[in-house]
């Protein structure tokens, strides 16, 4: 299944964690290899069945009529927004909570940024009857309030993390601390393809159902592979989930393409990061007003893995920023870092404003309100329609219900290109 069985992706990856966690990580690696890679005890069968019945898989691959017309290219949406909980996150959370159950663990912890991984984990834990605690930065708690409610309703404890700027980075550190304390009976459900091995491989494998389905669906609909797959990237789990099945794919249609306009010998994989308000950094304040780790980060070690990081020249980690909480992270998955370095994946970025415009545009034109995270992928499409070829698959990683308040606020601050009449929002407030 993987060519990365040592937990390394080129120079990236590894297991940079406190010694106290190493035995648990070895145990997890063993469980991953047996249950996930070898389907021991029918683990993967049960996982797939629960993903279907509880999660709602397969999700559709939808031809987006208005966008296709707008960009004069066939745009297909992979509808992860329709997954239970409203984002791709459940693919991974359900897999890990189920694995924890197979391993005999008795307690689940997880960090969350946008709250999407936290809600997915809380749902999976309730579904599988496991006690669950979620660590969430206090800033994120404020900007993703509905998700806090949802986690609580599902019976999870939500522990606010007040260190630093109170976002995802701090929440991960705090969850690692809890794990180091309770490692014997607790499984830490990491929410993206980050952290020490086997997490990056394992999360990718749980998420790769996205690309596997999309590949079959696009072939059924168009008789060919797409010219490109576009996905936003925070940690990169929806990204690698969408890309994995295409990494080794030559495009079978390129040989007989008559137009010759996009002669591609492989499916282009485009990872869209959050450009935030600017790509410039303020080293002094330790702040990067973006989360464009793949484009601007440097190799380093954080949260258990060697990968690209937003850091200052000393190696201190910088606070990232994005209008979308789920992309707001100073690191990125080691596999994605490797694929970017090796040229297989293109790292691009889209700023806050373009993401907001894309959010409004998709809502208006297609009747689908995307997560602000996913909106970044559509922002790229707007800015570079000629880059995606004749047929493109965009991963619509989640829905935007959680972002309504943020979008209203951020839209009012700006003079956007899309024409949004905000008055009724204000009326409704009254």
């Amino acid at each position: 299944m993987s060519t990365d069985s040592d937990g390394k992706f080129g120079a990236y990856g590894g297991q940079y964690v406190p010694e106290a966690l190493m035995p648990a990580i070895e145990e997890l690696r063993d469980a991953y290899e047996r249950y996930v890679l070898e389907n021991e005890d029918g683990f993967m069968d049960e996982f797939r069945e629960r993903l279907a019945d509880f999660g709602g898989r397969p999700t559709p691959l939808q031809h987006a009529e208005q966008l296709s017309e707008r960009y004069d290219t066939a745009v297909y949406l992979k509808r992860e927004d329709l997954l239970h909980g409203g984002a791709h996150k459940l693919n991974n959370a359900l897999g890990q909570v189920l694995l924890a159950k197979y391993m005999g663990k008795e307690r689940i912890i997880a960090e969350t940024g946008a709250g999407q991984h936290g809600t997915a984990t809380a749902m999976a834990a309730a579904h599988l009857d496991m006690p669950c605690e979620i660590f969430m930065g206090s800033t994120d708690i404020t900007r993703q309030r509905p998700n806090v409610f949802r986690m609580r309703l599902n019976g999870a404890e939500v522990n606010p993390v007040t260190t630093g700027r109170g976002t995802l980075k701090e929440a991960i550190s705090e969850t690692m601390r809890d794990w180091a304390t309770n490692v014997e009976d607790t499984h830490y459900v990491i929410g993206s393809i980050v952290g020490p091995d086997p997490f990056p491989r394992m999360v990718r494998d749980f998420q790769s159902v996205i690309g596997r389905e999309a590949r079959e669906q696009i072939k059924a609909k168009t008789g060919r592979l797409p010219d490109s797959v576009v996905a936003c990237a925070g940690g990169g789990s929806n990204t690698m989930g969408a890309f994995h099945e295409f990494v080794d794919s030559a495009d079978p249609s390129s040989a007989d393409k008559s137009s010759g306009q996009h002669p591609r010998d492989r499916v282009d994989l485009i990872a869209v990061e959050a450009g935030g308000s600017s790509l410039d950094v303020d080293e002094k304040a330790g702040v990067a007003p973006n989360s464009a780790t793949l484009s601007t980060g440097e190799e380093g070690v954080l949260h258990g893995a060697r990968t690209k990081l937003l850091q200052d020249s000393d190696g201190q980690i910088m606070e990232s920023h994005s209008v979308s909480a789920g992309l707001d992270y100073s690191g990125v998955g080691p596999e994605l870092a490797h694929l970017v370095d090796s040229g297989r994946v293109d790292a691009v970025n889209v700023d806050d404003e373009a993401a907001l415009e894309a959010f409004h545009r998709l809502s208006r034109l297609e009747g689908i309100i995307p997560a602000l995270e996913s909106a970044h992928a559509f922002g790229y499409l707007e800015e570079n329609p000629e880059e995606v070829g004749d047929v493109t698959v965009v991963n619509l990683s989640g829905r935007g219900d959680k972002d309504l308040e943020t979008v209203v606020e951020e839209t009012e601050k700006r003079d956007l290109d899309v024409d949004v009449d905000m008055s009724v929002f204000r009326e409704a407030e009254r």
Binding site: Y16, V17, P18, R177, L302, I317
Partner: protein, 279 residues
């Protein structure tokens, strides 16, 4: 292998190893504090180089790291700090791997270790670097004669423990309990278990995580530890001083007194043990 650290454990006395964050709450005060704990009886001093994501620390040391970073501490300044210190006992640098990795013009640990050696650092403790990923750093430490001190956790057992012991230099840091750093009100049973598990190994065993009082120190040394590592209990004193804006000297005196209490506890623990074995 650092001769200075070796000498401490060969002395026969239990080693008292206090920890402070360099530059907490600021450069000048921190110099005084480190010197004060030496006067209080430190045998080795672990000096933290603050990293922005200290995943192994509890809130006491996290807060100290924030104070130090806000006061401007950097790796470069840390080495100046070490050179400015007027202490005789060996210094061990405790930090996270990313700072070691990024130091100097090229990536990789060598430049950091070279600079540390030049500043007079005797050893390194890197809480997010398990043995599996330690080869490059170990090579650099060997090259420049530094000890690379490993942590043995309550979960480190069996084969894993055996493999680790092959690489040990200086002493092992025996983590007294699961979790993060932080002063506690009791001594963990896991400590006794761990010491029992390690009894057959000849390497010196310094126990840390949660030691707060002379009594704790005594109990742990009497249970077989060759040394005690105390961080949060001392950092708490620095934090109180910073909060109440006390004069540096007053805080330094308190630190010295606390150090003495812990050192005396350790000695008492060893005396008792010695007494038993002599009679």
């Amino acid at each position: 292998m650092s001769d200075a650290v070796d000498a401490v454990f060969e002395s026969g006395e239990p080693a008292f190893i206090p920890y402070l964050v360099a530059g907490d709450p600021d450069y000048e005060a921190s110099i005084e504090y480190v010197e004060a704990i030496e006067r209080g009886g430190a045998d080795v001093i672990e000096l933290g180089l603050p990293f922005s994501e200290p995943i192994a620390e509890g809130s006491t040391i996290q807060d100290a790291i924030v104070r130090s970073l806000e006061a401007g501490m950097t790796p470069e300044q840390y080495f100046d700090f070490v050179e400015d210190l007027d202490v005789d006992v060996p210094l061990v640098c405790m930090t996270y791997y990313n700072l070691i990795y990024q130091y100097g013009p090229d990536q990789g640990p060598r430049a950091f270790v070279e600079r540390a050696a030049a500043a007079g650092i005797a050893g390194l403790v890197v809480p997010d670097l398990p043995a599996e990923e330690a080869d490059p750093l170990r090579a650099a430490c060997d090259e420049f004669g530094l000890d690379l001190i490993f942590i043995v956790a309550p979960t480190t057992k069996g084969e894993r423990l055996e493999r680790m012991m092959e690489h040990v230099s200086g002493y092992v840091y025996v983590q007294a309990r699961l979790g993060t750093t932080g002063a506690r009100d009791d001594v963990s049973d896991q400590t006794d278990e761990s010491l029992a598990r390690l009894a057959e190994w000849s390497v010196p065993k310094a126990v840390g995580f949660g030691i707060k009082t002379g009594d704790h120190a005594e109990r742990i040394v009497s249970a077989g530890a060759d040394g005690i590592i105390v961080g949060s209990a001392l950092v708490d004193i620095v934090a109180d001083g910073a909060d109440s804006d006390d004069p540096t000297e007053a805080v330094a005196d308190r630190l010295e007194a606390k150090a003495r209490e812990l050192k005396d506890g350790a000695l008492a623990g060893a005396g008792l043990a010695a007494a038993e074995s002599v009679e």
